[in-house]
Symmetry: D2
Subunit: 365 residues, 4 copies
């Protein structure tokens, strides 16, 4: 279970890293949306490893095929099936870990839960599963862009203790893509590259924080109680492998000040209601207020490291293990398109939910 | 929409702070669970304001009635309806804000979304809505306690920059309740009381962080992809009014170290598999691993303050407003039972989901 | 479980016939719908027993209270809670059946499923549960009437083997209400009254078929695969106590002819596309085609009869039982508003689903 | 939307008849179920056309591939992706109908709903979509067989006015498969064959009724209000293309008798509680009672016929059309495995829902 995300724009994913393919079905995508495989491929290429020396050397061409739901270049309102074949899966790299639970991985919990485990590559817990999310997110993004001109820009905010200095209002995707670690602050980017190179050399790994800004969301999306826009964003982000935290707007830091310092005063700008600051992160009472959405996601250091680690076997013996395989010493750069994809999925879902409930795509007045 | 939480243990809430009553319907509670109104009342009393000078002086007796689903003291498997009547609602306190959008409240977004707004008390965005959650959470807690001996202990971790020093493994509910601010570290508690008194005097407000530990969750609950236990906890916590962030285990801070420092080594203790540390916060790959769940929720400073604030009216005039009403200068102490309730709801839901999918209440081996 | 109906217009019901009250929560009703308790009461009064000598003599005033979701006479987009108090519940009538499974009732299956059973009045399996559906249906009907001028007219088509001759295109609600058995064919109505009087005298019961026509549904509602409009109508109707069958359009009888006789030719009438006949019952491929919806529901003879019957006790003894209580010898007349309510709930749900998915309330061209 | 069926055992289908492939994703299948492609292929082969001269001459080898969720011959608890490639799709047969709405087809309603239509083969409304359901149903059937020894046997009960005389308690799958029309009454079978041959010759089509018996369902499955087992079966059956009616147990005919004739007396047989008759069709109050499930589904005569028919074009001209393509003059024989598949999907879903809610696979006592 748990393979479906969303209620009105629904994505169901499937596939393991060492099976023949993985993919997803999108149900609820509105009809008449122009869509091609190229729209999706561009995002998959960003997620793909092997883009620089900073990521795993696995070759994953990750070509997407759209198998249904499209007619003469437009969606038909039918379910869309997206498929990506697996290649270059070296199961033998995993053979030695068949009976060993890798620390801070899902090996142990999956085995406990199901009594069976596809130990070749981690099964559904593999970060490779996110291929399907990124593909689905690209469709959601197309819908949001065409219908509302929404822009979603994610970037690496911090790796280890090296934080970039980035203005979320101004940051552009090109700035992000110009950095090998997807940090649009050049100085921080250089320091991050260095830090990653260092831990790769020692067989260790790093974590950090991805930030994401969404510009152009109309006021009115989200629902007041359990369907809050930020609650659904939190669920989407915490569903990404290695995510350990989520914050919106001022987040944890915003708890330090007083109410009088934290509240966002309403003002009139260009004849429209705006907030003077954006500590709310574009969401008030769970509903978008027309300002940019601002959110951050914490990713722990990659669990798979080459250094020897203490662990136990399935039959209860304590052992020391050393991982092989080819793994990212730092997932943050590749997590950026995944965070963006989850943001797109949540927003497309709430766009359609809002439209169904109110008959309006945007604000009521 | 958005009034239902959970999939197998489903709660649907209703009611506004200034209507005749509010309540919820629980669908999916297993049969034969011993349950009485007293089980629920004890939690509502903890949420209730007026328990000390630190909270709002509104009188809300908040007596719960169970209207269905119970027979001779046990649940029948039918939907449970819980109802709490409103009393002492002073709508006139709100009259002056009919046409003014309170900063960082949901006034503006609700009006934009729906084109109508119950401005008496904030409608569904009022924190009073959490009465229904706490009531439902008490039922979930009873189920978890009786079937698995699960203990859920929340506490105030930090108010402003005053952080308590608390051992999550040892903290007991009695320690928490002994503090007027629900911080079981006596020194920090005293400092927090002082800080709250100070902001109340100046008509301002404070925020902070609530921590929650859940002990006794069997390994195996949660689902690997989108139904991750931590993703659902994040959604539950971010659905609480004023919540701005969520973290599990090592959270944001855990992103600073290296993988070799962060991974939780598996060990054998008393013949069973455990982790030597608990930076995973009891969840690995979205599934519980048998260790204590550790989570934290950030709450911004209360939006309603007495200090004058800049805002706009419905018809687009910039004005200065001063709130009246009776409001908490710091919601943290009362947020503790709400955080616990949301944790209980998520866990009860996953308990039943796990049982349905695997036919087992706990681990497979 | 199973207490929620619908996906976009969601109704969750609760309550037993011998508890303090029963009711429902509606989540997803659009904002700004004018609504009052009178809109609902008019439908509850039609469902209420004691309207003529043909129905049970129980007194159930069934006054509805709207507890939330309304502000100054309009819906706010928040969840609506409707409550109806129980009165005149004579539990002692049921005492003798505590340990006996009434034939063709849900006594046995509820006990087997849950291991506990509210034997006072049948718990959730009591037809009294339909009070909540009729109340919710009245809200759905208001929405459909105001937004689309949709008319829903149910009537008794047949009791035992006495079938009315009714033109579904012309039948009006007033014609239906003029008959004590809700059969708008006066001759059939008189014969039905006679037949019911006869079985009441002998302590027996009758079944029959309720028909329902829905006029004014725009083309385009419903979804192609599992969310077919007729599939959801079938689920709604079969969820009514005592329902044993459902058909749409030509139904079972329509299987006799050939395709060339059965197909509905398309024609142009008044410049618009219509079908020359309506054997499709207004639905093609699961989607409304703009013609009237035509459906029928079979109801078995009431299970509770005064005649002695063979059955078994909880502890496995074969016994002969004679029911007391006050029961309808024929539920058909009172089933009419329930069938209409379920039709309204399904249509309101698909109206909003269609609107969300396509951004249009009606046809695309 | 509407491409997902079930809540605990969830199937999401995708694909059009003239695209590259179609398939489904099953989420919620329990782990450790032995499963192979052969288990699924056997059911697909029964649905496949070209098995006799009575069905369409299209060649559809319909080989299934399992792309995920399986490990060393057993399910892992992860989502299962099933894929079947399309072959021999002759789009040009459809070209002439691009601008014509075929009578009693979904051409018009799909175009109205979505403003776009995959006119090559009918898109999602094509009966070819049922390939995915039959594949998913085979997995459900395997689960039901292994865990409970449940047997599902469907058969053609009637074609046109030729009804078979079949004992549902005794009928075996081999008897059904021995008949080219899947009617296990040899005399009726021969007459049906003749009737179908006759209409094929004249370019017309026939409808009828499929019956289905399910043996071995434990008492206790199903939910009391909206999640009734028969309500979900009705939804499943009415979601099959060309279905126009559903009945359970005594169905429409059972409405003729009196309650005293219709009620199923409880008796003790072999020390267990049973009913003396089975007019309830194995379901009472929406919950299985341990007797065989008995249900029937009405299918209208195939809409596609070779005879000339009156219809209209997209641009509103009245025309006479003659279909080409290769179509079944009677879908009943091929509908049998589809009805069985939908029954299996509903039962697997309720099996897991029951297990989750009560912690038991079967009865409580």
């Amino acid at each position: 279970m748990g393979s479906t995300f969303g209620r009105a724009f629904r994505v169901t994913t499937w596939g393991e890293s060492h099976g023949p393919a993985l993919g997803c079905v999108i149900d609820g995508c509105p009809p008449l949306l122009p869509l091609s495989e190229a729209d999706i491929q561009i995002e998959l290429d960003r997620r793909r490893p092997g883009q620089s020396r900073l990521t795993t050397s696995r070759k994953e061409p990750d070509r997407v095929e759209i198998l249904s739901g499209l007619f003469e270049g437009k969606t038909t309102g039918s379910s869309l099936a997206l498929l990506v074949r697996n290649e270059d899966a070296r199961s033998k790299d995993y053979e030695r870990i068949e009976d060993v639970f890798r620390p801070s991985h899902a090996d142990y919990t999956q085995e406990v839960k199901y009594g069976i485990r596809n130990w070749k590559g981690g099964g559904r817990a593999s970060a490779r599963e996110t291929v399907a999310r990124v593909a689905a997110g690209a469709v959601a993004r197309k819908l949001l862009t065409l219908d509302h001109g929404i822009e979603i820009v994610g970037y690496v905010h911090r790796i280890r203790d090296i934080a970039g200095d980035v203005d979320p209002d101004g940051v552009a995707r090109a700035d992000v893509e110009a950095s090998p670690v997807r940090c649009p602050d050049p100085a921080a980017s250089a320091a991050m590259v260095e830090a990653i190179d260092a831990v790769r050399a020692e067989g260790d790994s790093l974590g950090g924080v991805v930030a994401c800004v969404v510009r152009g969301v109309p006021a009115g999306w989200g629902e007041p109680v359990f369907g809050k826009l930020d609650a659904d964003l939190a669920a989407g982000m915490l569903s990404i492998p290695a995510a350990k935290g989520f914050e919106v707007g001022s987040g944890f830091e915003g708890t330090i000040g007083k109410g009088s310092e934290h509240n966002d005063p309403f003002i009139i700008r260009d004849g429209a209601i705006h907030t003077a600051a954006n500590r709310s992160g574009g969401i008030q009472g769970g509903i978008s207020n027309g300002e940019s959405l601002l959110l951050r996601v914490a990713f722990k250091p990659t669990s798979t490291i080459r250094k020897p680690q203490q662990t136990v076997t399935r039959d209860g013996r304590e052992v020391t293990m050393e991982a092989r395989g080819r793994h990212d010493p730092c997932v943050l750069p590749r997590a950026v398109p995944i965070v963006e994809a989850m943001a797109a999925l949540v927003l497309a879902d709430h766009y359609l939910r809002h439209r169904g409930q109110t008959g309006r795509a945007g604000p009521a007045f």
